[in-house]
């Protein structure tokens, strides 16, 4: 007997099929952490809203994919989503719908974005719906499909993490901390250095066989009142006419594709904190400090995130050196401090491998 979650998924998928039949099926494929995902759009309306931040990981046309997402909106396709079979009280704090989440299905409605995501982990697919593609908020365009990506990657023991990351092919660092800690602006400030940019807000991490980070979004976001810290990027703001109501949103795959990196070995976890004083420096901290910086904000931003987040983040924090990155007022010096750490850690690891071989 079908569960109510499955029954609703079937109705939602049927609505997508109707939408695709009435408009045009457009496919786009992407690679995240070596896994392929195919977006199946009913009509073109959602493409510019949801694909700009993923352009750097796009794939040529694929015959098959590890995961399929079926996306449509009602305004452009004229196809309505069946009304919700639940009541207002069934929406939980992170968007999960009570009674429609089980081992197989995750049903999430993101109230602020107006987005419904239903994931079927057994069939490796999901439906994504919003009422009006043109009303997609900037934060959804900058970091699209978070619940779908989280659930899918989690099933592959990959952790979508609230963290920034910068580095090079030799290795890089995770920048962890809650909103406003300085991780995004630190990552963005590295664009004018020899370091490469993997993420400013979300990335994918794995601890096995060794710590590694993968890019998912090439966007960047800076609070409007912090724009002067990244003044050199003002011309690259994609939504300047909507500041300060929105954060400044950058699409670096369009403005700085040569500065992006798809993945690297992780060498350390840094916890940025702004200090009084000019000089940026590092102070060793415990693994627990890194877990506190990484796990709660990841858990609370991702519907369905649970104890598995802790386990994966802890696995990483236990093996990587963790530092507080004390950000001084001399912003230009920040990338150099990170570069020197990466170089030291990379040399140390190389030496260890030689000893062990």
């Amino acid at each position: 007997m079908q569960s109510q979650a499955e029954q609703f998924f079937q109705r939602a998928y049927s609505a997508f099929e109707t939408a695709a039949a009435s408009s045009q099926l457009i496919k786009r494929s992407y690679c995240i952490a070596g896994k392929s995902i195919c977006f199946n759009f009913a009509g073109p309306a959602l493409l510019p809203q949801l694909t700009r931040a993923l352009a750097h990981i796009s794939l040529e046309k694929q015959e098959t994919a590890d995961f399929n997402v079926y996306l449509f909106d009602s305004v452009s396709t004229g196809v309505k989503m069946p009304p919700p079979p639940w009541v207002a009280d069934d929406f939980r704090e992170r968007g999960e719908v009570r009674g429609y989440n089980d081992q197989r299905f995750s049903t999430i409605f993101q109230m602020a974005a107006g987005v419904l995501s239903i994931i079927d982990m057994q069939e490796s697919c999901a439906v994504y719906w919003t009422e009006n593609a043109q009303a997609t908020p900037h934060f959804e365009s900058g970091s699209p499909l978070l619940p779908i990506f989280y659930n899918w990657l989690s099933s592959r023991d990959l952790q979508l993490c609230h963290a920034a990351a910068v580095g090079s092919s030799n290795g890089g660092v995770l920048l962890a901390g809650k909103g406003g800690s300085g991780k995004s602006s630190t990552a963005i400030s590295c664009l004018d250095s020899s370091l490469f940019y993997l993420a400013d807000d979300y990335c994918v991490i794995s601890a096995e066989p060794s710590p590694h980070a993968y890019s998912i979004y090439s966007s960047g976001k800076v609070n409007a009142d912090n724009i002067e810290r990244v003044a050199q990027l003002k011309d690259e703001i994609s939504n300047i006419e909507r500041l300060p109501e929105e954060k400044a949103l950058f699409y670096f795959a369009e403005s700085r594709p040569e500065k992006l990196i798809s993945d690297f070995p992780l060498l350390a976890v840094l916890l940025p904190v702004v200090i009084d004083g000019e000089q940026t420096q590092l102070r060793p901290v415990s693994a627990i400090a890194a877990i506190k910086a990484l796990a709660p904000s990841t858990i609370f931003q991702l519907p369905g995130a649970d104890a598995a987040v802790f386990r994966r983040v802890a696995a990483l924090a236990k093996v990587l050196p963790c530092y507080e990155l004390q950000l001084g007022s001399d912003a230009a010096a920040i990338p150099g401090v990170i570069e020197r750490l990466i170089s030291e850690q990379s040399e140390r690891l190389t030496a260890l491998k030689e000893v062990n071989s």
């Binding site: 009304p83 929406f91 009303a135 415990s286 506190k292 796990a295 904000s297 609370f300």
Partner: protein, 145 residues
Amino acid sequence: MSEQRFRINSPTVVEETIEGEVVVVNLDNGNYYSLENTSSEVWQLVKQGARPGQICKFIASRYSEKDELVEEPLAKFLSELQQEGLIVADDSAATIQSTELVLEVLSTTPTAFSAPVLEKYSDMQELLLLDPVHEVSDSGWPSTN
């Protein structure tokens, strides 16, 4: 001391222990907590299924203190854990013998008893503020306009 045993309030509460320190997250209310030293030890003993009386005796013995010195701060701490929704009453029949209780001795383990402290962080609560469903469109879905 009350003999009511408790258990960790999972799945609402998730937690991880590293080198004797515990980070606990309450998925329902957006709070997270840090437990060190004696508070971490009490948490470990609750997880093992110890009753408050057993916990009191174990901790007192560990620090060569009288039970009476430990009893009140322990009761207060357990009450605080309950109020925060981190532990709930466990009325199951399972029991554990005091001799089966185990706590790792770490280099960071203090040498003197101090009252257990629950460090609470509420800076993530805003991420859980649920936008009220104040308008519903003709389609039956919440309107974000």
